[in-house]
Amino acid sequence: MATRAKSLAITPARLVHLGNRTLVYVILLAGATFTLLPFIWIILTSFKPASEIVRIPPTFFPEKWTLKSYQTIFTDPRVPLARFYFNSTFVTFMRVFITLFTSSLAGYIFCKYRFWGKNIMFVLILAQLMVPFQVIMIPEYLILVKLKLIDNLWGLIIPGMVDAFGIFLMRQFIEAIPDEMIDAGRIDGASDFGIYWRIVLPQLGPSLAALGIFTFLAVWNDYLFPLIVITTTEKRTLPLLLTWYSSQHSTRYDLTMAASVLVMLPILLVYVIFQRWIVRGVALTGFK
């Protein structure tokens, strides 16, 4: 009884503590509001009629909810939305799966085999980590011109099939797989590729997920590379569609914001489902 009474007593120290806790939550909520407000604002904007958007001062909640802006986009014959979703999805999934395959295979070989030229090759890979795409985009474009891959979705896929960072990352993770396990596979008569496919790959689950998710986000949201490679309308990816569409309707914020919502929506859904994995992946890899 005595201890219980003591624990309920309001002491000055406890008041300070309570005040501090409250302050912490106020700051965290203010930050969350600052983060969410722009999203809420454009979603609300996309449901307003065009006449309400140009009103001064602007309304926050729509006075009259309407789906007009979405209807306009969906029925515009110059905007075959399904086509653009397909382009983005196709390029992204190809890049993700090929990157995961090449990174884990090369990572496995660099980690578990000894062969001539291994160190030079690995240093070459590490050196690529220091070169930003923006520095080499001009020759990248010229190479694609020579290969006749300009204005071709494969032009967005093939140069990204091998990812230096992915190889580096996978090698780090494969280091943790004991050699004994690989030897055991060998004794059981597995081929080298069989060991990679049936012993190494299944153990890389979380790291493959991290690399896959970040390749997915990077490719899906990429703007600069598609901007220099793609020229015709029907081959555009979603970010290209968005800048083109907003330039066509520069004063129609209802349409531009609705299009932005449509482009952001799939990735936000992916985020809601994989949120834990994504956040853990950043912490795990330091990948950006």
Binding site: L28, F39, V54, I109, Y113, M130, V131, L142, V162, L227
Partner: protein, 330 residues
């Protein structure tokens, strides 16, 4: 935590059984040859090529006489492209503005980002686990969003009449600026207003990334260290300054370098929100490279600007190596 920019010491593993069996050699060669070929063709070759290009007056519109269209109509000009950076022409002037703006942007983004993310990470880390996950999830949302959509979104928020920001400023009784993104005469503390607007939008999109890194690092600090400090009578501030900060130093260095490197490479908000304007006040190096290479087809000049960008990147990486050498991990 694995660091992209810092190659950690590479241990060369000495496997038993030095020589590979023939079928193993076939596996290694068969797998690595296409992978290394792609890497060399799409990463190493472009790096060599951009160095070559910056010594030429090259346009993809002209057919040259020699290898890869070099020579002939695309003549070798030696260091002319680099000399032109100090000339008085409009092009050189825009390049110098872009160079300065890139530095200003990076130098301003870093401290603002740190001042927000480090304290916020400590606050998030201090609350109950379930709420921690909730706040982390919200703060990270802008990071995964499309940069183009975010730029359009902030462009609308900054709209002088219809935008949310000026409406909020008016609602609390203050006078908002006439235009956030288009007024060349507006500035705040000596920094152009349009640049400040882009910095705010960029930090809004980017801060969740550093936040997550800091939270992960804070979770890695053993609770015993903090308890020991408490037992010795340290207050919260002393605990932060003498226990947490020293242990956080390697992470802090990593975050500083990554933030600097990535802010040097920003393109989308400068292209979509401001298009370099007003009066080139938000023209940056990557946008300069893009414009001259792909709009004006002056790829030699643009390649020379690429080399300047590369030098900046190497400079930051070099500083990081120097600082790391004196660093002791716990």
């Amino acid at each position: 935590m694995t660091n992209i920019a810092v190659p950690v010491p590479i241990r060369v593993k000495q496997e038993k059984g030095a020589n590979l069996r023939p079928w193993q050699r076939a596996f290694v060669a068969g797998s690595l040859t296409p992978i290394m070929a792609l890497l060399i063709f799409f990463s190493v070759l472009p790096m060599v090529w951009v160095v070559v290009l910056c010594f030429y007056n090259f346009s993809p519109a002209r057919a040259g006489s020699g290898f890869m269209d070099l020579g002939g109509a695309n003549p070798f000009v030696g260091l002319d492209n680099f000399k032109a950076m100090f000339a008085t022409s409009q092009t050189s002037h825009i390049f110098r503005l872009a160079f300065l703006n890139t530095i200003v942007f990076s130098v301003l983004v870093l401290p603002v980002n740190l001042v927000i993310t480090l304290p916020l990470a400590i606050l998030v880390e201090s609350v109950h686990d379930r709420l921690k996950g909730f706040f982390r999830a919200i703060y990270f949302m802008p990071v995964i969003s499309s940069a183009v959509a975010v730029s359009l979104m902030w462009g609308f928020i900054y709209h002088p009449q219809q935008g949310l920001l000026n409406a909020l400023i008016k609602a609390i009784g203050l006078t908002p600026p006439r235009a956030w993104l288009t007024d060349p005469n507006a500035s705040f503390l000596g920094v152009n207003l349009a640049m400040i607007a882009v910095i705010i939008a960029y930090i809004w999109q980017d801060f969740g990334y550093n936040l997550i890194i800091f939270i992960a690092a804070l979770q890695g600090i053993p609770q015993e260290f903090r308890d020991a400090a408490r037992v010795d009578g340290a207050n919260a501030w002393q605990e932060f300054w003498h226990i947490i900060m020293p242990l956080l130093k390697p992470t802090l260095l990593f975050v500083c370098v990554m933030t600097m490197l990535s802010s040097l490479q920003v393109f989308v908000p400068f292209q979509v929100m401001t298009n370099g304007g007003p009066a080139f006040q938000t023209e940056v190096l990557v946008k300069n490279i893009y414009d001259y290479a792909f709009r004006y087809k002056q790829m030699g000049w643009a390649a020379a600007i690429s080399m300047v960008l590369f030098m900046l990147v190497m400079f930051i990486t070099f500083i990081q190596f120097r600082l790391l050498r004196s660093e002791v991990e716990y």
